[in-house]
Amino acid sequence: MPDDLILETRDVVKEFRGFVAVAGVSLKVKRGSIHGLIGPNGAGKTTMFNLLTRFLPATRGSILHRGEDVTRLPAAQVARRGVVRSFQISAVFPSLTALENVRIALQRPLGTSFRFWAPARSLSVLDDRARALLGDVDLAALADVPAGELPYGRKRALELATTLALEPEVLLLDEPTAGMGHEDVGRVAELIKRVAKGRTVLMVEHNLSVVADLCDTITVLARGAVLAEGSYAQVSSDPAVREAYIGSAA
């Protein structure tokens, strides 16, 4: 049933001056699932993310959200439709406090973001919601600390809180546990599991135990094409997948 698909790509291709980063990928993300995108370095995972969120224009093919073609929409508009991404490097606004970071996401629907004459305190109506969102990711105590001074794991948590402030329908997480210590990985994985309720998550992730733990469906990319798709058990026993991973390790 196509209604079940929240995000879909059809033969999407991305070429950079002759180099083919994504070579005709058709991806089907089911509503409510946690979908993993894995593959060796250079497989085109992050490029797929950039295409899906319109940070890069696709060379060919189409991208559909809720069955509607979004291939040519501006990136900000895709975000406003509820398809919101995170970044590989933690994306926070460093000189803004944790609270202000979350408030940036909350203030747009307020419709006052062009009011350069409005006082700063006009945003304080959002403080309670922002604090609640920070509480959800265990950052309540650090609300007034500039984001740039937070430790790495906390920055990622803040990024997640900011993303969740938009109440996204689809969350695209680009390597949410990259560069994290063991404890932080566990905490972020828990967090993802918690926030995935009632949402769809598409994540690129290198940590296979996180993928095995969280993802309902996994798509393996290699050299810009789909190599395999299925549950973790199916994918991990696929000989082509094993070869691609071992081949890249050698």
Binding site: T53, F55, P74, A75, A76, Q77, A79, R80, V84, R85, S86, F87, A91, V92, F93, P94, S95, L96, T97, E100, R103, I104, A105, Q107, R108, L110, T112, S113, F114, R115, F116, W117, A118, P119, A120, S122, L123, A143, D144, V145, T162, L166
Partner: protein
Amino acid sequence: MTGRARRVWSGQAIFVAWATVVAVGIVAPFVVYPVFAMNVLVMALFASAFNLLLGYSGLLSFGHAAFLGSAAYVTGWAAKSWHLPVLVSMGAGVAVATVLGLLFGVLALRRSGIYFAMITLGLAQVVYFLVVQMPWTGGEDGLQGIPRGTFLGIDLGNSFAMYYFTYAVFLAAFWLIQRTIHSPFGQVLRAIRENEPRAISLGYDVQRYKLLAFVISASLAGLAGSLKAVALQFATLGDVAWQRSGEVVLMTLLGGMGTVLGPSVGALLVVTMENYLSSLGSWVTVITGTVFVVMVMAFRRGLVGEIKALFARRS
């Protein structure tokens, strides 16, 4: 330092900044020549308007003289040839600068970084060319003897009256800039400057925010130009020339980009040097240049920026 202490500190800093500006401004015409003080105020406003763009939006315009100069000419012409009241003349100048700002912004914001700067420079050169070519601008002579007129029955021909009028306009604009920086709009600008892709991913049409910032900055630069035409009673090619665009970068960096008072302090320094060293002729340029290089090498945050950093370390 905890977040609360930081907020109190920034509240104090804003209060100190305001108290300093108000106090210095009130006594200034008794200490220095009113015309000199007005020149400082006009340039301080120009630099503050520029700082709104460079310091708070991260956009380096190299064509801001076009807004200052065109507003100065239009205001001068409106006051001199049409005998319009001072506020109407100034309004006309600001309106022209705003329209130009919109035009520049729409074109230049298609590119970023050095290309953005070069497009603003190129467009400003077009404005310079038009000013040189058009008959009403007086060519090399510029517009001289612009009448100051009266405001609320007060004759602005009196230097003190003119000074306090200039000062009132400056304070109002300075207040508006502070307000803008801390407004919901200012928050989005900060977010865009610090992480543009992230701001896009949160659903912001960043180009529209940058454009509004550019237009506000151009309008206020135009206000500075209009004020200059009335206060100093002339508009010359120097006001639209690219050197003027360079000078405002210099003032802003000297005083401290992205600080409240920095641009005004920078303007004070540069105008003072130009004024009191003018007997040295072309050596002024050499001295200004040397001071600039030394300051940027030694105090990368600018004068006000370094003082702020010093206090932040102490507490």
